[in-house]
Homo-oligomer: 134 residues x 2
């Protein structure tokens, strides 16, 4: 079951410049940043009252985030819902005929994650995430 | 001060079709829908654990939401942060040099609202909202 908006993903050309707006101008609290090599991004998480803003800077113009940046110049990229059981939720999505990008959960910045296909959702990239205790 | 993500706005070609995905497939709880004539949209709100998904169907191809739909076919449109004092927060944004769409708060679906200009934010339309007791 989907519990809440876990985070909203925003593509930025440059993480430091993104932080100047989201952290310094809007005043959202910086939580952490990381390079996620296998997704080809540098990411930063900012707190927004329990949900997060996830800034994403592509490491390459060839991956999904890099292509999004080239096409749109950055902007709102995806919305992630916290799930209490991501395996069960994607199985339910599959039964309901929703096209998936990930056929099974994989490890991401927000825990065990999977992405639904934006074709299934009229252009919105939706992520499910089940946080993992660290 | 910005307290949390109040809602994420999603443009859809048709509200009923949008509800079939967000309510019936994802299982988000429908809260209310309304026609907001002066903004030229039909809107529906769905609960997502305290935050909301706001579906927006344009009533005209000529307004901002209508043009977004024509350009992109729908998708993530804006992110709204709850403010405890929207007048003070937009004054602070102005002092920080952030370009605004609304120079002062106006009444919207989420309370007293204002939009920052996406030019200020690298392509993300950001809304502030101070809920009003009804």
């Amino acid at each position: 079951m989907l519990k809440r908006i876990h985070h909203v993903g925003v593509v930025v050309p440059n993480l430091e410049e993104g932080l100047r707006f989201w952290r310094d101008c809007l005043g959202l609290e910086f939580k952490k940043s990381a390079t996620i090599a296998d997704q080809g991004v540098r990411a930063a998480l900012l707190d927004a009252g329990g949900s997060e803003i996830e800034l994403l800077e592509p490491l390459s113009p060839d991956n999904g985030v890099g292509k999004f940046l080239a096409r749109r110049g950055g902007g709102l990229h995806h919305v992630c819902f916290e799930s209490d059981a991501v395996s069960a939720d994607i199985e339910e999505a599959r039964i309901k005929g929703i096209q998936l990008i990930d056929q099974k959960p994989r490890k991401g910045l927000a825990g065990m994650i999977c992405f639904l296909h934006p074709k299934a959702t009229r252009g919105v990239l939706v992520e499910y995430a089940e946080p993992i205790e660290e």
